[in-house]
Each structure stands twice: as C-alpha cells, then as structure tokens.
C-alpha cells in the first residue's frame, strides 16, 4: 500500500511525462492556426488516454501481463504479427522524431551542429537506459518535464480572451480551412492517444510490480496525472493562440515554441521551456524505445523488463538498443524531424484500432481479470473511444493529403 507521498510523486512524473514532441508540435501549431478553437480536441484525446491507460494498468496489476501479451492471444498469430509489425514501424518513426527533437533543442541551447547532437543524444539515451533503474528513469524525466508548466504561466501572462478560451472547449467545426481543421483534430487526438503510451504504461506497471492492491495508485496516476498533464497541452495551445495567431506567425519550429514562453516571461521562460522540452522529449524517446522492445518481447514470449536487469532479459535489452539505433539512422539522413513528427502521429492514428481493440477485449476477459474486469462505465467509455479511434484512423491519411499536411 503506497503512501500518499509516493502516489503524489507518481502523479508528478505522469504530468511531466505527458507531452512528447508530437503533442508539442500539434498543440502549438493548432494554437497558431486556429487559436483556442481546438481545445475540445485535446479534451477528447486526454479522455481517451485516461480511459485506456486505466484499463492497461488494471490488466497489468491484476494479471501480471502487459497489454501486448494479449494482442497475440486476441488476434491470433498471423493478424497479431501484422499488428506487431505495424506497431513497430510506427514506433520507429516516433523514436526518430523524438531523437531529432532532442537534437534540435540541444542545438538551440548550445549552437553545436545538429548531427553531432544526434549522436550525443543517442549515446546519452543509451547510457541512461543501460545504467538507470526503471523508476529512476521515469521520475527524473517526469519531474524535469514539469518545467513545461512555464507555458501555463505564459498563457496567463499573455492575457488571452478567456471567453474565447472557454468557447474553445466546446466542440465546433471551427472557422477557416475545413480540411486543415479536421487534420488538426485527428493530430491532436492521435498525439494524446499515441500507441507507445499504453504499451509503455502497462509494461511499466509490471516493471514496478503492481498488484491488485495498486489499483488505486493506477486510478490516481491516470485520472489526476493525465488530466493535469492535459493542462500542459492546453497551456501550449492557449499561449500559442494568444501570441502567434494575432501576429500571423506559423508555429512549426521548436524554436517558435520556446519563443512563446520567452515573449511574456523573458530569459527564464526561454530556459524553462527548453529544459522542459528536452526532458519531456527525452522521456518520450526512452518510453517509445522501451515500448518497441516490450512489444516484440511480449509477442514472442521473451523475458523482458528493466527489473530483470540487462543480462536477465538479454533479447529485450538488445531490442531497445536496436530500436534506438534504427531511430537514429532514420533521422541522421537529414530528414526534417518536424515532418517525421507529424507523419509519426498520423501513421500512429492509422494503427490505433489495432492497438486499442485488444486492450478492450482483454480488459473484459474474466480469465485474465477475475472480478476486476471492466465495469459498465469502463466499457461505455472504452466503446465510445474505440468508435472515435476507428473514425480518425480511416480519416487520417486522406486528411493528411487533403490538408497538405496542415498547410492548407
């Protein structure tokens, strides 16, 4: 039974670790393009990840099995392998995007060459993953990610029209280019519900050896942690909407994101924004690399987990190393990491049904869950979000093309 203090620490880590480069890019671009009109889309996304992360955590705590274990059982070997390959390909794009993002932030801080920083980033990540225990990794990057709360302060200091902000929480079709608006809806929901998050969360629960006694911790982490984490997304969008939209500044560079915090708050805002972004993106690079390794190990039945120590789960260890290296190879080609970020989110959206259907199925399975199987509310929410996920999965690629990747 964890102490309140320990639960609070877990929540803080969840808040700080909530955003990754996909959330940062999409929320700021949405703010710069549509002001506050897309805040409701973030709410939808946050609701989705809360619903499914709670399920994943519960499955892991009760059965000791992470979610991807169940993918093969639910979908069979053939379809399951397709789901694995799709998940890994999409995940690689995500890892590449995060690594690229780290290098960009480091470049903004240091002025060193981009490619050198890519190598540095991968080596540093590898070292951290090799040496640090699981909980330390999550806590350190989670807490440092809290620096992004500077955007909440920035949002307030920029004096947005709070009336308009409130209206943004109500779903609407928005003004302006309809295809671009729809593209952002898909991107924002997709960035919040990106697959590696649930795979990572459920495996993380097993890493921390949760049992049925930790179901309360699970709920607290998810409900409080992710809701408050959603505030970071709101803050990014609101501050971008308040600063960038009126000046006609398009918001698609990480430096632009940092400027949004610097304008109202000066140098301290800039530093907190850059450090927070560095921590959040690094945490995401780690989480997505591990997620890739978890998925393949869980599909084939290899031993896995940082809690087994590096040599105790050797194929798993080699898997995350390979994921990091492959991600690095993608981004060292010089491809624009911001574009890779957008593509990684959009292609993740296409893969979302393959991610979420098995979760809903296994959370209802009494052999796995006993009396902790989904209740009516979890199934209602789960079913609703499954519908959302199917709709955006179908719409994602057409909207990518029709909206010219959000450019209109």
């Amino acid at each position: 039974m964890k102490s309140v203090f320990s639960i609070a620490l877990g929540i803080l880590a969840a808040i700080g670790g909530f955003v990754d480069i996909g959330d940062i890019i999409f929320n700021v671009a949405a703010g710069a393009t549509f002001g506050y009109q897309l805040l409701w889309a973030v709410v939808v996304g946050v609701g989705g990840i809360i619903t499914y992360a709670e399920m994943c955590g519960r499955v892991a705590a009760v059965s000791g099995s992470a979610v991807f274990d169940a993918v093969r059982e639910r979908l069979g070997f053939g379809v399951g392998l397709i789901a694995l390959v799709a998940a890994e390909l999409v995940n690689l794009l995500t890892i590449a995007a995060e690594i690229g993002g780290i290098a960009i932030v480091l470049q903004l801080l240091s002025g060193l060459p981009y490619r050198v920083l890519l190598v540095l980033a991968v080596l540093a990540l590898g070292l951290v993953l090799w040496l640090m225990p699981f909980e330390w990794i999550e806590r350190v990057f989670g807490y440092c990610g809290l620096a992004l709360l500077v955007f909440a302060v920035a949002a307030i200091k920029l004096h947005p029209d709070w009336n308009a902000v409130a209206h943004g929480f109500v779903p609407s079709t928005g003004t302006g280019n309809g295809w671009v608006y729809a593209y952002f809806v898909v991107g924002l929901v997709g960035a919040a519900m990106i697959p590696y998050e649930v795979y990572f969360y459920s495996s993380g629960a097993v890493e921390e050896q949760w049992t049925a006694k930790d179901l309360g911790v699970n709920r607290a982490n998810v409900l409080v942690g992710y809701s408050l984490g959603g505030i970071l997304s709101f803050a990014l969008m609101i501050s971008a909407g308040a600063l960038l939209l009126p000046q006609g500044i398009q918001g698609e560079l990480l430096g632009t994101v940092a400027l949004v915090a610097e304008a109202p708050l000066g140098q301290i805002g800039l530093i907190l924004a850059l450090v927070g972004a560095l921590a959040a993106i690094s945490g995401a690079a780690i989480d997505s690399s591990f997620s890739g390794a978890y998925s393949i190990a869980q599909f084939f039945g290899w031993e896995w987990g940082k809690y087994r120590h590096n040599s105790g789960a050797p194929r798993f260890t080699l898997a995350w190393m390979v994921m990091l290296v492959l991600g690095f190879l993608i981004v060292v080609t010089g491809v624009d990491p911001i574009m890779v970020t957008e593509l990684s989110v959009i292609f993740s959206v296409v893969a979302l049904p393959l991610t979420y259907v098995p979760i809903l199925l296994v959370a209802n399975d009494r052999a796995y869950m006993g009396r902790y199987a989904n209740g009516r509310f979890a199934n209602l929410a789960g079913g609703f979000y499954l519908l959302v996920v199917f709709v955006i999965a179908v719409a994602a690629v057409p909207l990518l093309l029709l909206s010219n990747m959000g450019q209109g």
Partner: protein
C-alpha cells in the same frame, strides 16, 4: 474430457512461464491426439519458430524465414493455467528460452550488464 480439451485450445498463443517465474516463450501450437476416436485431448504444447508453420499462411512464411527449433512440452508438465501457462520445471530443464541464453553471452560482454 471435452472441457480439458477446450482448456487446451484456450491456451494457444498464451505465455509460458517456468517454475521459477521466468517467461520462456509462447504456446505456438498444440499437439492433439484422440481426435479420431472421439476422445480429443491435448497431448503436448509445441513452442518454437518451427511450430508457426501450423498457424496459417503467415505462420508458414515466417517459420520458413526464421527456421528455428521446435520444443515439445508434454501436457503433463503443465502445473496450472491462468492468463499464462505455468510449467512444473525450469526453462533450462525443458529446453526453453535458449534464445535468451545465446543473447546473454553478447549482453554480458558490456560492463554494467547486471544493472
């Protein structure tokens, strides 16, 4: 008994866990007996890449590419069933998890591998 048979079918693709709690593969296929005499039973669990050739077209293709071993675990070695199949012996005794043994030789060369 048909209920034992259904139980056996129900473990397909589930995880294998040895007596020490180590994960050591998946139930890749099942060896059935007594189907023709009307008394179907699960004789053994089959695990390993070769077992995938019985799992549809994709399974055949992957089995041909990977070309791994096949390990046969008699049903008598099953201790209990929950979300995973728990076995009575260790992975080493059953000849499972050899991939990890080979990979461990590589990983152990790097300092800090016990972390």
């Amino acid at each position: 008994m048909s209920s034992a048979f259904d139980l056996g079918l129900g473990v397909l693709d589930h995880a294998l866990v040895d007596s020490e709690g180590r994960r050591c593969g998946k139930v890749d296929d099942l060896e059935l007996e007594g189907v023709r005499d009307g008394n179907p039973r699960v004789a053994a669990i089959l695990t390993g890449p070769s077992a995938w050739s019985g799992r549809g077209r994709i399974g055949r293709v992957v089995a041909a590419i990977v070309r791994g071993r096949l390990v046969r675990i008699p049903w008598s070695e099953v201790d209990r069933l929950d979300s995973a199949v728990h076995l009575r012996k260790t992975a080493k005794e059953l000849g499972l998890g050899r991939g990890d043994v080979r990979a461990a030789k590589l990983v152990e060369r790097i300092p800090g591998s016990s972390l």
